[in-house]
Subunit: 393 residues, 4 copies
Amino acid sequence: MTIEASAARLGGGRIRLGMVGGGEGAFIGAVHRIAARLDDRFTLVAGALSSTAEKAQRSGAALGLDPERVYDDFATMARDEAARPDGIQVVAIVTPNHMHYPAAKAFLDAGIHVICDKPLTATFDEAKALAAAVRASGRLFVLTHNYTGYPMIRQAREMIAAGALGPLRYVQSEYIQDWLTEAAEATGSKQAEWRTDPGRSGAGGAIGDIGTHAFNMLSFVTGLRLESVLADLTSFVPGRRLDDSVEVLLRFEGGAKGMLWASQIAVGHENSQSLRVYGTKGGLEWHQEQPNELWFTRFGEPKQLLTRNGAGAGPANRRVSRVPPGHPEGYLEGFATLYSEAAAAIEAASSNQAVDPAVTYPTIEDGLAGMTFIAACVQSSAEGGRWTTVEQV
Amino acid sequence: MTIEASAARLGGGRIRLGMVGGGEGAFIGAVHRIAARLDDRFTLVAGALSSTAEKAQRSGAALGLDPERVYDDFATMARDEAARPDGIQVVAIVTPNHMHYPAAKAFLDAGIHVICDKPLTATFDEAKALAAAVRASGRLFVLTHNYTGYPMIRQAREMIAAGALGPLRYVQSEYIQDWLTEAAEATGSKQAEWRTDPGRSGAGGAIGDIGTHAFNMLSFVTGLRLESVLADLTSFVPGRRLDDSVEVLLRFEGGAKGMLWASQIAVGHENSQSLRVYGTKGGLEWHQEQPNELWFTRFGEPKQLLTRNGAGAGPANRRVSRVPPGHPEGYLEGFATLYSEAAAAIEAASSNQAVDPAVTYPTIEDGLAGMTFIAACVQSSAEGGRWTTVEQV
Amino acid sequence: MTIEASAARLGGGRIRLGMVGGGEGAFIGAVHRIAARLDDRFTLVAGALSSTAEKAQRSGAALGLDPERVYDDFATMARDEAARPDGIQVVAIVTPNHMHYPAAKAFLDAGIHVICDKPLTATFDEAKALAAAVRASGRLFVLTHNYTGYPMIRQAREMIAAGALGPLRYVQSEYIQDWLTEAAEATGSKQAEWRTDPGRSGAGGAIGDIGTHAFNMLSFVTGLRLESVLADLTSFVPGRRLDDSVEVLLRFEGGAKGMLWASQIAVGHENSQSLRVYGTKGGLEWHQEQPNELWFTRFGEPKQLLTRNGAGAGPANRRVSRVPPGHPEGYLEGFATLYSEAAAAIEAASSNQAVDPAVTYPTIEDGLAGMTFIAACVQSSAEGGRWTTVEQV
Amino acid sequence: MTIEASAARLGGGRIRLGMVGGGEGAFIGAVHRIAARLDDRFTLVAGALSSTAEKAQRSGAALGLDPERVYDDFATMARDEAARPDGIQVVAIVTPNHMHYPAAKAFLDAGIHVICDKPLTATFDEAKALAAAVRASGRLFVLTHNYTGYPMIRQAREMIAAGALGPLRYVQSEYIQDWLTEAAEATGSKQAEWRTDPGRSGAGGAIGDIGTHAFNMLSFVTGLRLESVLADLTSFVPGRRLDDSVEVLLRFEGGAKGMLWASQIAVGHENSQSLRVYGTKGGLEWHQEQPNELWFTRFGEPKQLLTRNGAGAGPANRRVSRVPPGHPEGYLEGFATLYSEAAAAIEAASSNQAVDPAVTYPTIEDGLAGMTFIAACVQSSAEGGRWTTVEQV
């Protein structure tokens, strides 16, 4: 996915994209729009950007949308867009969690591909229903666990799959922040409000918001399948209704073990996700805040600093790098890579061709795995911290 | 320039952009296109993408341009676009250096704003002629010294202007790479070929390609005005026709001093630009490969790690940040910031309004300053390393 | 404890030191000897350096000891040294764990102070018996959890005690290495042999060898009292008889929680101990391999990098620093600080004076706490991972 | 020089050491004493610790010296110690620079080996006279450019000598601090007083105090021989009589070039010495404040992080490491290594044996080279910044 290749792919025209959520004041919707634009594979043409009609219109106007294609609700949008000859080919769902299921279902039922923010849904039942809907629809479903779009994460996955670490023994995945150290939900932060509200987020707070990222990350990189968890969820901030700190012990099929730590009250950490993986022959370490670097050690040899698109970069790393090494790519580029992979898959689907096997965006299966993970953690913690088998779905 | 604000600005429609250079196989043209897209302020509608007609057409097609607006040469493009009611408002010039002057002049003369890659021109004479052309045209001229778009660089500039370091004493600016350690120009690298060719690059190799970035960076951040230089330019690689390593001693008006080091043969450095500034009361340190961080020390106090959009971020930092702290922004985002500032200036010019004083993209004056710097360094070195007064232009 | 003060203290003469263990081929004995020498408060005059008579003699000769005071066994040494007018005042016990109890008891019973390596003993029963012996003897007992001697660890403890972090919520303590990634105990490493042998190490492998360091570290810095643990101990290397990887969930009195991770199979980590502590108002982070730095963040303010003896250093930090900031002190210096604090305590005891309250070496109580921690972890893990109350002793 | 070996060497007894300077309130004297003690090869038995008789006596008493061997002046000490059968074998000279020459000469003339702090002398003439005295005496002369004692510096030297970097092209050596940012010499700092006093320091301020370290470091590691310099010395602090900031362009025999930067007014740097070396095949980077690490890159391969005594450590690195990797050694250990190498050389000299060729402490030749460097820099700067040939001595 060099820049040149990116340009070359454009011959087929841009994919028509709609958006649900992401109106004024939203954070992640704007991120999705940049991600969709960055490699120039999409054009945003329709939206149900807010559940408030006036705000929906205003947001649509600000984005330059045709007023006719600015909808007050997603159901109308799904129906009308499906009926247009120039209707959207794919919709991005960027609402709070509790809206993911109904919105996604509406578009899938209308035959429209879906790109959806994480976690998959607010409840495990919804997740299973959504999985069924995806399968029934035959449409594509892309879950934006964006951190898997980083080139060094692709490199890590490729190395492990190739056996560079030997059989894996231990995985440590953490994602710590400090933005919920105080009761931000009580002092006007809209982001904090819905993320700490069980009605909109589901049963998990930190575990759902960032713990699922950490879990998806370790699963994506290692390929390990989770067998059971032992979790401890805590709400440290008085009055908070969902967990803001969680640690989970992990057991994988085949004997590997691991640990996951997520916290939103770890003062001094802005968005500190990291992953460490150890096998019989080697180890890897990665930190999201320095995403262009990956530490690799073969047992008994000096540590190596692998870089994005640099010396030692493998095909999976180079494929999703846009600029030369030493020119940092970041969060938006990683996010954009998922969009570009979605584009590749949509184009392949549209032309009844097989998608390039190198395309590896998170799917409904990853979303389901994340929801089983949340469910098992919540249950384990509620039972006082017991080993809990993860439901295989 | 929060994401939300970026969306809101779009009411006025996108600015029509053309491009000269940047066809197949080019690196920086693709970067400019991403930068133009990222904040959705521009739409690319025309180009003279290559000096080879066939390649120009193929490149235009790959970018989805209207074939009628894919030109074989820039002169025709300037004339024809100026004549169209929907003609381009601004052109991006992303050719090798020796084409900057004639291309920029053609568009300025046609009344079209110019965004131009650095260094300004291949020769000092061209630079002066171009400056005259800009002034005569009344059009905007934006020079893409992209590293000044980084939020932490904006923060550094703001802090120094506010006196956080006290009167400045010493500046160390370096930009070191290793990609020209071997004779890449002899083994098929097109990037290496033109950058080591005096006919296309001008009299400076490393000094022009990256030394000007390092000089622009220190000037932008400190506001110091250069008085004289003592430079030593070296070509370490046998057969190379331009310098691949340069060190410069710097003297500024008012008594501050400094040092600039640029190298393309520093093995182990991908794109390691850094800036260190010391005053009577404080010091700053920044590294391009970790662009979201800025070290700040008040004399006698603990070192602080300032971050993009994080705690301690000032208005200039926040203004050009798109996402929350801890979500790394990188090279493309910094580049995009210059494009968005160009957009703001073009819109202001179009409506005869004053541009927001916070807009601080590099201009023709910065380009001229860079060319006087190159000229003085080349002269100083040619004379065996003597203090050489920098021409004030 | 500036260097100057260190010199000044010497007027009273050096303390006579003996050593049990630490003969040829031992690692930690040599470390103790350097630590004892560094601040010039001790002189080594006697030893039972090996359980093999010939090796004991040879080791004693190599150290320049009077042959008369080179003993074949610790019991004789304790008896004879106690009887000499110039007999040792304190003994350093640096044997494998299973010898700590009998040796320490012999010297305590003979009225001689004891400095003992960690963990306290091989079994919990021995630990309780040793505690009784210490109390009965009225002699000093210093446990060399050497990492608590680092200046930045003293600073962290001082800051937390002063409330700089507010009430504590969460502590993450980890200690990971890779030296036991393969079965080194089967290929001739004496260090690996005894450390993986339950007969010499006790019931804990990694948990005893390095987990106790991590636990002591968090206790020393935070002052939190452990209430219960949930542990998972694993032997990843086939044939290994003790754990080489352990994770522990921690609950403290008053509601704080934490996590401890120790591993000897984490490829790429030489000796990577780290501590992270979060309270309602601030956070701290420290890494043993960069011991002269401590990260401190007040919630909502920029991160600060505190340094050994540098700007922002508090009294506890300065007191145990020997050289100016920027001149790294390391492992041996931290170890030496415990010896110098032992010297201060011995001198105070000898003159019936109160010891400086700033002296804070680990004592028998810390050793007991470490043994209750090991016991609870081993039990919790043996029971399949259950919350296990830590015995208060 | 493992710990075990260190112990084994002690059979021959400790070397009798005297000290000139280093009384109460001195910094570097105490460092030398720790360095001498650390590996247990020396015993301090005599001193002329201060030029004030009362202070000399008090300092001697504090160090536990026999009052008979506490001298009021170095001349008496040299004479009397030479006459004693148990007289000192070597003297450490740790006075301000202007005393180095007369003191060293007195002991050399008395047949006593000399360990001397840097820079060699206050003036170039003294340096040449001292060199003559050393040669005439047949005694050993050890100059404590302590930073060359670091294991990673030994590793760097060994790698370059073995051709790991190919022929060298460029060297960047810097040593920056901030402790003289303000006029500390006017507010009671004794360290600042003599170091900024031409009468006691000589013609160089920063260039002599730390610039010589930076120069010695690059010479030691690269083996390059300096041909000419172009220097700019500045006193930024009003009223200061010696330079507090210096930059030097360097040309070496054979065509390599380099740059040296020393500053005592670089706010935010405690003691930041670093070295970067680039050849045709590889590059190295080292930072004194993280002394246990060395970055190494073979052109076109991933960067490696070499460590003290770790994987990839060569013989020269392992030889001067005391403890396993990951257990940081620091400034005092590096200093101690020079003392231990002095011990090895003294023992070899005493027994008319050849010293181990691995012993590589700085000698009178290195001291002379440092003085020619200072002299050439001072002259170059005084002449306005001209290329100045370095005198070959």
